[in-house]
């Protein structure tokens, strides 16, 4: 009856249910931090995330292990590394998207502005309001451009004028001029690059604190990629950004700090998981890495 899967599911459900009950409190306790939003855009030393020995398991099998790193405010932080090294798993911990996978388990300590993100009183839904996400494949809703952007503010019950929110978000995503005359047309008629910028606009519209981007340009052509990279440089004035990328040049171009992850095998080679090899300022990672494995990877000798 009590096989491990059902137990795990129950735990996840309880966590979600428990969180929902006092979500307001958790939200409040996170939001009342002074100077939390729209502070002066300076590359501060203020930490958004502090990860201590974070490990993620799927059905008991480790995907990433012992991740310890700090993510700073108004920085673009890049996660690079070969396929299967757990970059996506790691970024999905940061807004508790892993909760949606019943068998996923996160171990270790993950602080968000000093607050335990996996604490018993934290509601994952409130977390996702503050920490938005842009996915690998553009995933606009099958609705009009306007409704795509307005969806978030609507479900969150934001009271400001919706037209202003939509226009502002589309401006911030450098999409307004391209779509202002066809806000009512279906988002599926846009190009891939426009769709991805729409997803960014959708994310901005709910005024998050952090934007997580999971390989946002991997399905896009170089011109669209360039637009999104330019956008990131602007967005970091207002938000903190964490980006997963396969593309090392991209990490070098857009990020302030870079974490390099590598796959590790256990002794009998049955399990493999990701581990941080080096995490430092991007310039150092790409010009003068401390670890020879980082150097091999960024110079293209391996991977």
């Amino acid at each position: 009856m009590d096989d491990p899967v059902t137990q795990e599911e129950r735990r996840t459900e309880e966590r979600a249910a428990g969180g929902a009950g006092d979500g307001a409190t958790a939200h409040a306790s996170i939001e009342v931090r002074p100077g939390f939003q729209h502070a002066a855009p300076s590359a501060s030393n203020e930490k958004v995330f502090e990860l201590h020995d974070i490990s993620v398991f799927y059905a008991g099998v480790p995907a990433v292990r012992d991740i310890t790193m700090d993510v700073f405010r108004h920085h673009v932080t890049a996660l690079i590394g070969p396929s299967g090294c757990g970059k996506s798993t790691l970024i999905r911990c940061l807004n508790r998207m892993n909760d949606l996978i019943p068998t996923a388990r996160v171990e270790g300590e993950l602080l968000y502005h000093g607050e335990d993100l996996y604490g018993p009183r934290v509601d994952p839904i409130q977390v996702r309001k503050l920490i938005g996400m842009v996915f690998q494949k553009p995933n606009p809703f099958p609705k009009s451009i306007y409704d795509n952007v307005a969806f978030g503010p609507r479900v969150l019950g934001m009271k400001d004028d919706m037209d202003d929110i939509v226009e502002g978000a589309l401006h911030s995503a450098a999409l307004w001029d391209e779509v202002k005359d066809r806000l009512g047309s279906n988002a599926y008629g846009m190009s891939g690059g426009q769709q991805q910028r729409l997803c960014i606009a959708r994310c901005i519209a709910v005024q998050p604190d952090v934007i997580l981007m999971d390989e946002p340009c991997s399905a896009l052509d170089p011109i669209s990629t360039g637009k999104i990279e330019d956008l990131m440089a602007q967005l970091k004035q207002e938000f903190s950004i964490v980006i997963v990328t396969h593309n090392m040049q991209q990490a070098a171009r857009v990020s302030d700090r870079t974490a390099f992850l590598m796959v590790e095998l256990d002794a009998d080679e049955r399990h493999r998981w990701g581990r941080i090899v080096e995490y430092d300022e991007t310039e150092k990672i790409f010009t003068n890495p401390s670890n020879p494995r980082t150097e091999d990877y960024v110079t293209g000798k391996v991977g």
Partner: protein
Amino acid sequence: MAVTGARGVTNEMLSAQPRKDVIRNTIFASLLFLAIALALAGLCVLIGKNLVEGWSRLNLDLITQNNSSNPAEAGLRNAIIGTIWIMAFVILMLVPLGVGAAVFLEEYGSRTSRITRLIEINIQNLAGVPSIIYGLLGLAFIARAPLSLGYTVLAAAMTLTLLVLPVVIIASREAIRAVPTSIREGSLALGATKWQTIRRQVLPAAIPGIATGVILAISRAIGETAPLIPLGAATFLTFTPSPTTDSFTAMPVTIFSWVKQPQPEFQTLAAAGVLLLIALLVVMNSFAIWLRNRYEQSW
């Protein structure tokens, strides 16, 4: 020399396939064509025969006259009204129950839990239960105690709802499953709750598939005779009944009663009634197909 050799090989590779393969292909294609031809022939014979027989009575009287013991005056008016009432109640119960069950199974039920799997298997089995069994169930539990609704439109509607519920559940589940996970993730990542995601993203995207399933289910229910007979559908009703208290009739039941009559005029009438019912089904199914094609979403 080498070039001619190579060309020779190419020619050999491109030349006609062996005669045996050609014959096999032809035989197989013919068998497949025969299968579809037989299925269509059945339908054509049915429609053709009824057209020949019933053409003389296929006029407005058929739908404006109540049933009567005089075949010259008999029509389907009260049967059509009975069918409309039954279908209205069926839709009212079928849509929330069917869609609700599908949403639960797809979005809330765990894929691996034994209970969900048990429910799943049972729904599939229910779809295959003969309709007369549902009629007996309706008689035993709905018309009589515990529900004691009597032999009314409501009892008939509940019975037919149970009969076609599995069809709607299965179609709705498929429609819901076809909505990509990325849509759900996109919504959840904005801080929407699970219910907001289902209500405002998943269900709207699944509506064409759900609607198709509902229409197909209703077009099945509309033609069902067997489950209504144990429920005491009046085969011979000459007035328009009230939907909740009086006994009722429906189109297939009245047609069935005409077929049983000895007078040849009633046979003509029955043939005309069959044509009307088929026309109704064709219209509903075409609408379902149109709906599916019109709103088909390519992800």
